[in-house]
Amino acid sequence: TQLLEQSPQFLSIQEGENLTVYCNSSSVFSSLQWYRQEPGEGPVLLVTVVTGGEVKKLKRLTFQFGDARKDSSLHITAAQPGDTGLYLCAGPPPGSGGSNYKLTFGKGTLLTVNP
């Protein structure tokens, strides 16, 4: 059972377009993280959201954590070819409390931004 479901699985857009990708769960998460992975490299942390309803901005990227802490979204404004990559959401498994050091990952959204 996949705790974190990401959609869409694949997304191909033209440079300059806006897009939103989603990370959903039926469980409550204490926090969620977003990573970007470029081909041939390891994932790189973009942001952590902790508070329900929280919005964080990182240049053209806007991250939102749902009020109920069961979902998150990533919005990219005016996408550029450099935004191409696999976007992963992850979070500490629900119910793990303070003694668990693990993350569970969604399967990711593969974004391609064409020039």
């Binding site: 969620l32 993280q33 994932p43 942390l45 992963l88 992850a90 050091y101 693990k102 990952f105 399967k107």
Partner: protein
């Protein structure tokens, strides 16, 4: 960037041979992890360590063992490699700040023929 290296970066081996992958960190982080990444499955945790000589299983630990004799090194061993273990392997480290943010190495691409 976090100081994490993985070796080798690429390896081709034959079924039945033992394989050891190494993860080395210079950040003095307490927690270290081994994941495998496969199409359609995403990142799956194999084993993790919460201190020197302290390790535990992840969700796909069968066929793998790990060792951590020093803070900076975490070894993943495939005792007898199988074709199903062909994958890209990532090491990650964490000091459990915030929501357990993890920092990943560059990966090892392993092919078992």
């Amino acid at each position: 960037d976090a100081g994490i290296t993985q070796s080798p970066r690429h390896k081709v081996t034959e079924t039945g041979t033992p394989v050891t992958l190494r993860c080395h960190q210079t950040e003095n982080h307490r927690y270290m992890y081994w994941y495998r990444q496969d199409p359609g499955h995403g990142l799956r945790l194999i084993h993790y360590s919460y201190g020197v000589k302290d390790t535990d299983k992840g969700e796909v630990s069968d066929g793998y063992s790990v060792s951590r004799s020093k803070t900076e090194d975490f070894l993943l061993t495939l005792e007898s490699a199988t074709s199903s273990q062909t994958s890209v392997y990532f090491c990650a480290i964490s000091d459990r700040t915030g929501g357990n943010e993890q920092f990943f190495g560059p990966g090892t691409r392993l092919t078992v023929l």
